[in-house]
Amino acid sequence: MAVLSLDLDLEVFQGPFDLLLTLVLKEEVDLLEVDLADVVLAYVEHLEGSGELDLEATTEFLVLIAALLELKSRLILPREEDEEIDLDRAEAADELLARMLEYARYRRAATFLRERIEAESGFRYRSAPLPEELRRVSVDLAEKSYEPVTLAKALGGLLRMPEPISLHHVAMPTVSVEQRLGHLRALLSGRGRFTFDEAVEGADRVTVAVTLFALLELYKKGEATWEQSESFGPIVVNAR
């Protein structure tokens, strides 16, 4: 089944995937309101249902969903406050189309190359060893062709100790979005205002990531807003 006809049943939209794309492009559906996780779930369900993995279709789906996710994350986090969201949205839709077109370009170039190698495969080249009398290379004919410093560089590079292997990621994440949502809500109702750093004090990386996810969820539900006065500066979260 083509990815584009994948049937979706979302909160803000019911219908095939290509229609959703169309409406996003026409700005009739607000990408901010589309739950992309549900789109992914619908696709996974469809895959499970069909029992087979169509690599081409899956690739196409991943390209589309990745582009949509990137767009959406940009919409959620406008770079400058005074930037018009609508302008961003139009730009974003154009970029989605541009990315699809770029990929289409190399897909077609790939078809060209495949046909070319196929057409060439009847030609074979000789790979026989040289006759004995011609095998000796003459040192006298050799001229300087390489820089000795490349050797020192190559050897120096080998002395570099690789990072010790981290087994950190093997540990199962034990923190859920629900837990972090609860944590953030408690902070909100307690103080009404806190910094992100305070919210994740002493937490490991996975917890920090999940907390960020929970924060996005709060924003989406209209429970909180945040501000950051400069890049990498503290993020202040306020109850809405």
């Binding site: 095939p16 409406l23 190399y106 790939a110 190698i117 030609f123 040289l130 006759p131």
Partner: protein
């Protein structure tokens, strides 16, 4: 009787790689003009149609190869499959490297929208691409090889068609957009 065409033929027969006019001229201690002429004479002989070997210009030089007429017999004799065809993923990675080189693996993944480790690995292993330094962010860069040109029958990278030739035409692009929109309207009003 001029021996040059004979000598050139012998060199082409022996050399494992395509030979440029300059290299041949050096080896023969002859002028490049003479070599070009000798190659033209050889080409005539090889073009006569009864030969099982053809003179080809690939990867920036001249080389001899068997005519496809012998492919089936050659496969039986050498018990070696011909060049395996490329999978779609490999072909896409190959196209991106060929056109954008030097290009990094993350960039390939960005264009294709999926991680491309295994396809890039296979292309490396088959000698179709090779490393070519590192990007400013430390990612390994890749470029195409001489072997790529040989296997694809190209005499140089400039023989690749302009990549813009593969772009959807403005009409096609407009049509694509319009078709999407129209389908959307019909469904939306239904």
């Amino acid at each position: 009787m001029n021996d040059l065409p004979r000598i050139v033929e012998a060199l082409l027969f022996l050399s494992p790689e395509p030979l440029s006019v300059e290299t041949i001229a050096d080896a023969c201690e002859a002028g490049e003009g003479e070599v070009v002429e000798a190659l033209a004479r050889l080409r005539e002989h090889y073009a006569e149609g009864w030969r099982g070997v053809v003179l080809r210009e690939v990867a920036g030089g001249f080389t001899l190869a068997t005519d496809p007429v012998a492919e089936k017999a050659a496969r039986r004799l050498l018990a070696r499959p011909r060049t395996p065809p490329l999978t779609q993923a490999q072909a896409e990675c190959m196209a991106i490297v060929a056109y954008l080189q030097p290009v990094s693996r993350p960039e390939i993944a960005r264009i294709r929208g999926v991680a491309s480790e295994s396809a890039v690995g296979t292309l490396l292993e088959r000698g179709l691409i090779e490393e070519s330094g590192r990007s400013q962010f430390g990612a390994v860069l890749y470029r195409s090889t001489q072997l790529f040109q040989r296997l694809f029958g190209l005499n140089g990278l400039d023989e690749l068609p302009d990549v813009a030739a593969f772009d959807p035409t403005p009409e096609e692009e407009g049509e694509l957009r319009e078709r999407l929109l129209k389908a959307g309207e019909q469904r939306a009003s239904a």
